[in-house]
Symmetry: C2
């Protein structure tokens, strides 16, 4: 069993998944010098790509090894503009209001088990964005047409109590590793529009998982709404 | 109000929608001389395309004008192998068991209001297919990221009582014309696997509606299962 309540705090570096490629649509929303926040930066793939493009990037992760791997990747890649790092939770970002142009969440919400936490995280992203800022999300979609996922969703539903969620196990030890959630289009759209964003861009995509399966995915860009709903 | 319980029996020829293009994947499942049943052939677009490829096609529709337009299209296109026609409902196909190689339902299930009827229709398709036959479905997917559809789904839910359904109105008269349903991936997958099929092919696509909107769509090919579930 995990030392902490959040299993991601204890995952060892080599077990940190980092699978989805950055979609080029992101660059429509990143003007030169756009300040980007990479939430749950994992092994730093996105951080490095953005920093290599010259963007000032700030990266957070809750996992110590993840930050260490990102730091190592920065050194290995001889990047001119050094990203800033912080060990932090997306539930309470250690940043002032309205300072970022773009917030990125790449295959991150899939491992946030609670729907309340997902909402809180998106509201936090909204808070730290500038008034005309954008939230970029790339994440997994429910894949009912593949037997392997349909069976997992149904098998684990009594435990996860959320349709589209399933338990992932450590390949080496066979022990429970974490819970993953695959989203419906409706879930992602309402996650944005109920927490401060308009849907600016929406694309259905196909992603390859860490185990090599081709599953449904989404790339979504939300634009911070001028006023909150019901204000 | 419609003379009949089923509004599609009375739609005039020019108001019959026929929007989705035939996906080339169909030809993977149609060997030469494959006998194809085109369910709800509408203006005959698919019938003509298949007949032009030399396939013997049988077409049914519940609407008299639809069959007339298909017949006219056959004459206009000087097709060698003349398709067979019948005015019939997909709920009770006027054909013997196991005689077709492929059954096609192109933008048809979207206008079948009752989920029980959809199941019955797919079971009927299964019945008339040969043991190794395939069912090809192309239909609309729920499109939550577009305001226009999200608002329709939510606005009409108290009337339709099915998420993803909405009321379509006649553009000229403004009168209620028919109810349409946009599917989730899960719905389509279970419609197949609970009614005699395995999912052989599944693709997410983008379709253009008759009003010019770009919406989510699916192309699904089911393979008739050797034995029914629980047999």
């Amino acid at each position: 069993m995990s030392k902490h309540e959040n299993p991601w705090m204890d995952v060892e570096g080599e077990d940190i998944p980092a699978t989805i490629k950055l979609d080029p649509v992101l660059f429509r929303y990143t003007h030169p010098n756009a300040h980007v926040l990479d939430v749950a930066c994992a092994t730093g793939k996105v951080t490095i790509e953005l920093a290599s493009h010259g963007f000032p990037v700030t990266s957070i992760d809750i996992n110590h090894d993840a930050l260490e791997m990102t730091a190592k990747a920065v050194l290995d890649n001889e990047i001119q503009i050094i990203p800033a790092f912080a060990r932090a939770t997306a539930l309470a970002l250690p940043f002032a209001d309205g300072i970022f142009d773009v917030v990125i969440m790449q295959a991150f919400l899939t491992v946030v088990v609670s729907t309340e936490d997902r909402s809180k995280i998106v509201r936090e992203a909204c808070r730290v964005l500038k008034p005309d800022g954008h939230l970029y999300i790339a994440d997994f979609g429910q894949t009912w047409h593949l037997d392997i996922y349909r069976e997992r969703y149904l098998r684990d539903l009594p435990v996860t109590r959320e349709e589209g969620s399933f338990l992932a196990y450590d390949e080496k030890t066979g022990e429970f590793a974490y819970t993953a959630h695959h989203f419906t289009e409706k879930e992602l759209v309402f996650l944005l529009i109920e927490n401060g964003f308009e849907v600016e861009f929406f694309k259905r995509d196909t992603f390859v998982t860490r185990t090599g399966n081709r599953v449904n995915g989404f790339v979504v860009v939300g634009k911070k709404r001028k006023k909150m709903k019901n204000q």
